[in-house]
Symmetry: C2
Subunit: 182 residues, 2 copies
DNA sequence: TATTGTTATACTCTATAACTATA
DNA sequence: TATAGTTATAGAGTATAACAATA
């Protein structure tokens, strides 16, 4: 037993066929590639968002409240897929930085409506510019048509994934009733 | 990213989502799609690897040592992009589960060579089957030629990303000397 | 009694440093 | 002195539970 590993004759294995017990390297794996690209993007995005309280999440709060209007903390937390307690800390930091404000909800005195301040809006515009640059950097080696193809395919996969597990949503607003879940 | 497995599963810090100051639609955001698909895969993979010590990382250890032969802990850690201390804990669990074994390196009495046991090899075969099913599930809505295109494009992006930041590597064997980093 | 938001606590993962045994 | 591996400790991030105010 021990020396297990069988002959490692065949390697290479194009981009498909993840198999490994047969000797194929890990990088032929979809998961591996997905992880590498994702982490690369996450790292670049974090750098582009440096200084923003909460990093990527801070951006999400700014972008969402700006695009969809003032939102209650709980709804915002649900949309972003984070716990409400996390949202409290996140908003504390963003508010301290003068990027968002908490206003009382006229319809429910328990709730607070979150909205970006003028400074928050300006910061958002700048952040979006940086993020677009980050995307171009990631897709750098692909030519125009390839980028388009990749975006379309990825988009379709994302829409599908989102439909299966509507957790990290950003547009599902109305359909509040959704029995299917984890 | 994360339940029982960090690496791939990590939540938070990930893909951004909404966009808006300029009015661009959410679906056009690369980060959002990347994050959704990645997390979907991570979640499915974690489920497929349920019970395996270390989750995705445990799988990587098994796959890599099986495909490339016995490796020293430090080299393995560098390839997988994890700290050597993490590797110690990970191998402790995998060894306890009887999936890998630590053998003394004849060439250096300080080092230990990691290799999968027969049980580890069998487990790997089963895990790969499950991961392939997971991939098919993720790519479900794409037809054959689309899947091929997506894999190829993603692979190219991953190779590029890996070249820029050779951290989570899995194939760089010969060019062991690579001081360049962050 | 249920819900919004806050706070306090515990748990997980990771990062740093110190230690041993070899080189 | 430097390196392979181990161990211990501290930190960030997250989840859980309890609390006050309101519905």
């Amino acid at each position: 037993m021990s020396s297990s590993s069988p002959d490692i004759a065949t390697r290479g294995a194009g981009g498909l066929a993840p198999s490994a017990a047969s000797g194929a390297p890990v990088e032929a794996d979809l998961g591996w590639a997905l992880g590498v690209v994702f982490r690369q993007y996450a790292k670049a995005a974090a750098a582009a968002l440096d200084g923003l309280p909460g990093g990527p999440r801070g951006y999400q709060v700014l972008a969402t409240t700006n695009a969809e209007g003032p939102k209650r903390q709980l709804d915002l937390a649900a949309q972003l897929g984070v716990d409400r307690t996390v949202m409290t800390y996140l908003l504390d930091d963003l508010e301290k930085a003068g990027l968002v404000q908490r206003r009382p909800d006229p319809a429910d005195r328990r709730a607070r409506l979150i909205a970006p301040t003028d400074n928050g809006y300006e910061a958002l515009c700048d952040l979006e510019r940086r993020l677009r640059a980050t995307e171009d950097e990631i897709l750098g080696i692909l030519d125009e048509s390839e980028r388009a193809s990749f975006r379309v395919l990825l988009q379709r996969l994302a829409m599908k994934a989102n439909a299966v597990d509507p957790l990290h949503n950003a547009c599902v607003l109305a359909e509040a009733d959704d029995p299917a879940s984890t």
